[in-house]
Symmetry: C2
Subunit: 390 residues, 2 copies
Amino acid sequence: MPTTFAADSVGLVTPQAIEFTQPLALACGRTLDQYTLMVETYGELNADASNAILICHALSGHHHVAGYYEGDTKPGWWDSAIGPGKPIDTNRFFVVGLNNLGGCHGSSGPNQIDPKTGKPYGPDFPLMTVKDWVESQARLADYLGIQQWAAVIGGSLGGMQALQWSITYPDRLRHCMVIAAAPKLSAQNIAFNEVARQAISKDPQFHDGRYYDVGEVPKTGLMLARMVGHITYLSDDGMREKFGREMKEGKLRFDFNPQFEVESYLQYQGERFSTAFDANTYLLMTKALDYYDPASEFNDDLSLALQQATAKFMLIAFTTDWRFSPERSREILDALVDAGKDVSYAEVDSPQGHDAFLIPIPRYMEIFRAYMERIAADIPPSTQEKGNAS
Amino acid sequence: MPTTFAADSVGLVTPQAIEFTQPLALACGRTLDQYTLMVETYGELNADASNAILICHALSGHHHVAGYYEGDTKPGWWDSAIGPGKPIDTNRFFVVGLNNLGGCHGSSGPNQIDPKTGKPYGPDFPLMTVKDWVESQARLADYLGIQQWAAVIGGSLGGMQALQWSITYPDRLRHCMVIAAAPKLSAQNIAFNEVARQAISKDPQFHDGRYYDVGEVPKTGLMLARMVGHITYLSDDGMREKFGREMKEGKLRFDFNPQFEVESYLQYQGERFSTAFDANTYLLMTKALDYYDPASEFNDDLSLALQQATAKFMLIAFTTDWRFSPERSREILDALVDAGKDVSYAEVDSPQGHDAFLIPIPRYMEIFRAYMERIAADIPPSTQEKGNAS
């Protein structure tokens, strides 16, 4: 943790665990009778709760979006975009981050204790869908006294949640920002997820998901899953720029150990992840990705699915993102245009592939900042005065 | 096996094991004192051995390139291109296929007995490079009495061998056909290979490569390696066309089993491969791919590396191939043009990704056939008469 915080940092933050006791019926047919959401907020909610922004996280994200925990040297995962004076300006907005249900950072999920059994849920935790998450986030909004979000914002799987908000609760958000996302996974996306799932579930230390009971972790499976994932987050060009064919020891060795920089990097990333993330959560998150397909209930017509939306939309894609390429964002764009919605679209030139959505690329941040001005302008004027006066 | 063979099939074929006793010094610094190559030939060598075509195989290929084995229902891996009247016309050409050293189909390799120990080589089999293979193939040419190949032809890793032939033995081939290849792997290519290697080597049944001794096979590792590989052989578009989001049971189930067609397909491919291919060979083949970089000895100037080549070149790439994209073939093209060589280049429009090079796509086969006419025309006339008269 820095000894002093930068002027544009939200500084020291503390998460809170919020208990929900109203049963939540899930898409899979099961019900969570009670559950916990880990939540973090930055900035202040104005008097009529009209300046709230919900941040939805992607596959391996969580509620710690910005700022620092006591003793930490690294800030939250989207600290570059959130803080006083940053694109999501905490002087103006009240920002809410949460760990989704099924996650592994304190919200109810496979690695948490099932109150009914006193043991970790493990593989018995129900499968979640994007719609279920939106429902749980709506309950969180109720709890926080937020009737309508100024904006729901998310990248990748987080973007899918933002999109779903506009369909399920059209009246509860004024703006919807969908970054580096897709309206559904392609066969190739699903295929990569399935490789990750097979790697985890066939790891002998997975024990059918009950590895908590035996004090083991399917490290190899999670490492492989992360390695595959990581390749799909980077671009071919970006990897060429970053690693090329650089060798660890400057010249070829003839053995089976990694000798190119890119191999060591991936192994390091994979190994770090394998002890920091929960395997059951990884399975659940990839399944939620696979399942998402809002058009499926609307005769496979995404435009029809979005007909009921009333939010204004901002879509952002990155040129070298091949996990969710700009083409995929344009599918959403086309559907919104067909449905006659208010939509803006920006394609940001960047070599960083899918990962770009987390990186403060200058042009991206400019676009982000400009759109946040629109969101701020749409906060009802009376409210703004009230907020300023309070 | 068909009861009768099509007129354009080479029909029933038999491989032969050829023993070599002259020691082969390898790039890794070690020497193979003696070795076996499994070889298959189709058509007849003409009197002055000027109509011979060498087929170099890719990662999981072998000597059984065309025709049928007794009892088999499926022909060799490139049967679509080789036979009487087919693009590589066995009425005109003498076609040679071999299993490369380090392979697992009968040539000396990890799964074969090391004559020095009486046990399988396993991980003690030396690492091979494309150059080593070219050297072993040159010895095979000597054995067969072939001073100069009419053409050396290969796809993918096989294309790299064809390219290397033109550099190492410029006088020993008249034509060089490099299909769906690249002059070296990109960081992304290496990364995918490393995922496969980690999956295999971290499988508890790998036993440091000595799994033969305990009667086990690293099935899961090989399955994962193949699944990842397979995704990179297909194109995003091709997978969309072939599988889309089709579900096995027509509707969503909420469990962790595969439910999309693409998942089942990949699992099937992976499982089939895991019992049919040798894990040590897979490691070795991917390392040979990683190592290949003919420009590295020429100040990273591919054009300089190819300066000594005298063959005529035909390069073919496929539009949706993202493992070795057309851009990669054009790197070879540009280097050959810069070096003032005789080179033709064709980019074939196809949705099948990298796999396209094995598929008899009509336009591809037309181009192939047309170029084979050029190769036939370059067989010295006196020889052709002699050949026809013999």
